[in-house]
Symmetry: C2
Subunit: 461 residues, 2 copies
């Protein structure tokens, strides 16, 4: 006899409570794999609920792989039931990190960085201890301007550059410069962290859907937004480049409405194809473009160094409001020497090759393991993987987490309701692991998601 | 004949335009020292303005030391006219820095710091490169908690501590945690920078006057504020400690209204008197107190490390909103070793002695030079100086700046109209210079402010 408890005061729906109870019964061993569940009618009578409610529960159990339906016979606990992780009971260790923010510490040019920081320390310059220029040290800004021109074709005056301790902080600063009275449009799906910082910073945001992979400018006109946060180089998270005609429309929108375009050029340094479009900020009419970039992806997130290029009026406002740059003097001076010595560009070149290899390798392995369709691209530090599975996106995430694999689902980045919810498309970050670890992680995913089609050593642990 | 130009479209008032024209005439040499100005009547007729307007101008010229009135004779250009600096024409170099944020780099424990950072770099720990704990590295927070107990009597769980790149950033974060729907009360006069960050962060602020040197809690009740930013240890900028009864009222206010107290304990480590009151955060009923402090004053502003102690509910909200700490991994690890090695407390002890000596020396020199009344205190990194001069506070500041002395006026920190405007009270920061430089700076001030009573080498340059 099934022990099913329901609580009228629970925040959970009745069907959710019944679903969880059945899973708990299986977990406790009171319902064994292969055992038959009561019929819909029986259970509905037992629990004094409608058959529709039981119907919902049973559909959910099948959908999630907990039970299987046998034609003309009824519902049975699956041979290998896939049970939902009970809340925070066991949060398994992350063994393979495919997350977007991951970093492969082995690739950081540690010895050069340490050598240069030692040099900085030995100079014992008093300036390093002071608050310094509120925009960041001028020589470092000069280096950034030089590299921006060489790697991204952006011509900028170092006076327009502002450094801050991370992109979150740049966004928080921008709200104060642009003003909370303006509405901030964001891509949907889009960069969730920027969205969170905008909301926390008191900005009102409006999600704008994508059309053919890029922000829908017609919709943007209708929002009345005074600023938009976009990722033209590689839309995050869908990975597509904004086409030329959309860029033209977007620039026209900014000009006509007096709005600002916040261009997040994350990973722009790794765009490899010779026909990649240059950033909006490199255009002659870029007066309303605020370019944002970070050293978190090209060097290390732990350094906490991001920067932006401000139009003159906002730069003046910045200097009125802010009297200190949030990046420490030592870090600024070390990065300056790192760039002056040419180490930065060398590092970028090396990483471009490395990421290209990893991308190719990942695509091959995904195919070999039959994990799904990789949507390979020619740039970037993550790939999209479209998984064909009857399980929901949330359930696949849960199975991955239990197998020690961290990754993110495309659906995590959407606000507006859409087809993404059930799409089963995932983002696989490439920056955190070398080839061997990538292979291991993919194999673990395969075992978790397709336990019966595994290799001879396959099957769930 | 005077060349006085007025412009009806100018943003300046008519009297201000006439005043500036006369100063320019003197500067250009068209009006020599000792020369007589037209009578009020004559000038009013010439310029087709009222005699009241000219009256205002002439009063201003006398007040500011540009002209002198000779009884029954008229207005004459002063023998040594004190001309207002023409806008940004000459911004003289700062030679003596008495500003509040100044720092004496010679006091920074450079060799130990460099040694420890080299150690950190040699360990090549991968963790330093990652984003790490959003509140900051746990071992460093443990050290901060330990030192807080030893130096400030505050018992706190390291889990409640959050690090950020500067106090500005802490304040910006707090707005997002506490919420913009709450009104933020600030002391008036008070810490202008916190006020600016609150406003930039979209918080609504309400200035609350001081009563007997500390925030007026009766007024605070009337504001309906949901948070207050206070400096109980040493009110900034008036330098007074908040008395016990006011502390009790303030805590009661927070309890009764459900408001938060943001306790900025800047320079608290340097409070020397054994009878100094402990911080509000050390009280048993400190559940609504958010304690803020910084390493900018105890170590160096260029390090960009501040921290706060959050009540549990705000800490949870912090972890929902923020996924990264803005202080770089290398800095955190170095500071951790610096504290673990006992270097931090040793440095504080050494600086306490040093600042005590400087305070005594400054008071003696102020007296010797007849600069005014120093309002000496037993703590802190700045002293107040009350200057007796017929010149306005603004004019004295201008003269100081021209002599190469940077300092700030008490009136700079007020919002509400009050007597401070004309008080001629200044803040002299002690952290930036050694005794010799302090003496030189005070001598320069004396020459600038009291040119005729100077020493034998005195007089204006």
């Amino acid at each position: 006899m099934l022990q099913i408890k329901t609580d009228p005061d629970s925040a959970l729906s009745l069907s959710e409570q019944i679903y969880r109870s059945i899973c708990q019964e299986i977990e406790a061993g009171n319902l064994a794999p292969g055992e038959r569940l009561p019929s819909r009618r029986e259970l509905a009578d037992d629990l004094h609920v409608s058959t529709t409610t039981v119907e919902t529960v049973y559909d959910h159990l099948i959908e999630e792989g907990v039970c299987e339906s046998r034609p003309r016979s009824g519902l049975y606990v699956a041979a290998e039931p896939i049970l939902p992780a009970t809340q925070a009971k066991d949060t398994p260790e992350v063994r393979w990190d495919f997350s977007i923010g991951a970093m492969d510490a082995a690739q950081f040019p540690y010895s050069v960085w340490a050598k240069l920081m030692r040099l900085v320390l030995s100079e014992q310059s008093d300036e390093l201890l002071m608050t310094g220029d509120p925009q960041g040290n001028a020589r470092l800004r000069g280096e950034i301007a030089r590299v921006l021109y060489r790697l991204r074709g952006i011509e900028t005056n170092p006076d327009q550059i502002v450094l801050a301790a991370g992109t979150d902080m740049l966004v928080a600063i921008l709200i104060t410069l642009i003003g909370r009275e303006r509405l901030f449009a964001v891509e949907d799906p889009g960069y969730a962290r920027a969205r969170r910082i905008l909301i926390a910073g008191g900005a009102r945001i409006v999600p704008v859907p994508l059309r053919q992979g890029a922000i829908d400018v017609r919709e943007l006109y209708q929002t009345g937004a005074g600023a938009v946060y976009v990722t033209p180089g590689r839309q995050f998270p869908t990975g597509q480049e904004m086409p030329e005609d959309r860029r033209t429309s977007l620039m026209r929108w900014a000009r006509e409405t007096g709005a600002y375009i916040l261009e997040d050029d994350y990973e722009g340094e790794f765009s490899l194809t010779p026909d990649a479009l240059p950033p909006l900020a490199s255009r002659p009419d870029a007066g309303r473009v605020i370019y944002l970039n970070t050293f978190a992806r090209t060097l290390a997130p732990g350094l906490r160094i991001s920067y932006m290029i401000l139009p003159e009026s906002l730069r003046e406002r910045y200097r009125e409001l802010y009297s200190a740059c949030s990046v420490p003097g030592f870090e600024q001076a070390t990065l300056q020497k790192f760039m002056e010595g040419g180490y930065y560009e060398r590092h970028i070149r090396r990483m471009r090759t490395l990421y290209k290899e990893r991308r190719g390798y990942l695509a091959d392995e995904v195919e070999r393991l039959g994990l799904g369709r990789p949507q390979t691209s020619s740039a970037g530090l993550f790939e999209l993987l479209e998984v064909e599975s009857p399980l929901s996106s949330g359930r696949l995430m849960e199975l991955a987490a239990r197998a020690g694999v961290r990754l993110s689902a495309l659906s995590d980045y959407s606000i507006l309701p859409g087809k993404e919810e059930s799409s089963g498309t995932f983002l696989l970050g490439l920056a955190g692991m070398d080839k061997d670890r990538i292979r291991e992680g993919l194999e673990a995913l395969q075992k978790a998601w397709f336990p019966r089609t595994g290799e001879k050593n396959g099957g769930r642990e």
